[in-house]
Symmetry: C2
Subunit: 205 residues, 2 copies
Amino acid sequence: MLMHLVTDSITEQIYRIIKEKILLTDLKMGEQINPRELASEFNVSVMPVRDALRRLVNEGLVVNKARVGFFVRSFTRREIQDIMEVRRLYELYCLDQYFHELDREKLREILNACRETETLSRRHFDELDEAIHELIITASHNDYLIESYHNVKNQIIICRHLDRDRMEVAHGEHIRLLEAILEGKKEKAVDILRSHINRVAEAIL
Amino acid sequence: MLMHLVTDSITEQIYRIIKEKILLTDLKMGEQINPRELASEFNVSVMPVRDALRRLVNEGLVVNKARVGFFVRSFTRREIQDIMEVRRLYELYCLDQYFHELDREKLREILNACRETETLSRRHFDELDEAIHELIITASHNDYLIESYHNVKNQIIICRHLDRDRMEVAHGEHIRLLEAILEGKKEKAVDILRSHINRVAEAIL
């Protein structure tokens, strides 16, 4: 058996755990985060917890209200619209510009997984959803673009539970999108992606 | 006389000062930053300096090499190409999508300032340069987009001193761009902006 050494700093590990809690909505939008409680849960001093929270503040996932404390960031209608525009900007650009770079083999696998799904759990939908949109972005082979997109994506994921009712429809849109790409129909694919993202935005708002 | 109270935290103030030093290339690409020296310059403890540096690490302007220290981030050829692609993505999108939202009055002022300039100092060029590209982005009225663009812009500014020879040519390109916008010729303006950014990228590389 391989031995795994954890070489990440304590702050780094705490940062990852809190971030995951936010993205999985274990910690919900607007909820207060208590650094002392977390520190005692992790059995560490409060300092690395505060450092991790400050990093999440810089990433825009947490807000620090002076003299009150840390909260999971919540978004106004306008902010969600603004974020979705930037998402559209990245995804439509990459689909259009790097259409021929898309990994067809992986896309076909995802399409099969989509079709085989009979009863769709939220968790399974989220996995397929992320895989599709991620493949579109990584087709750019631009590390800087991919990293910038991830910041946008994190903020979208926080809002994810808001569009719960749309899952079945979105699933059908994903299938049509993958089919269009695999048939080599770029303009059709771009149109489907554009209206897909617009509908996600409408559903959240 | 108005009294100004500085309500920013020490860390916030130090963050701003170091950031400015990097963007003005008082601190150069790859140069080591000594937190102890800075702390004694500012007459503060080393902790807020480290906090400020960590924030700059998160923004991608500073790197922290384990057991060695903090350095102004330097960029490989490939990284600069990647950053310039994201810049092109934002600016071309905004110019195309928000052409009619552009503040014509301010653009005309900038154009006049460009034309009046006889001997062009680097400082003056940089000011005009920033004003033009900033107006294109703010035409979106999308705060989230503007904020994301600023992260890209900061990274571009670090590379700025690398294209010193191109200043006069870029100045002429700016004038042609502003003229095209003010004449209402959107496609011409988008073309000029695209080749302007491409040439900046080539000059840096």
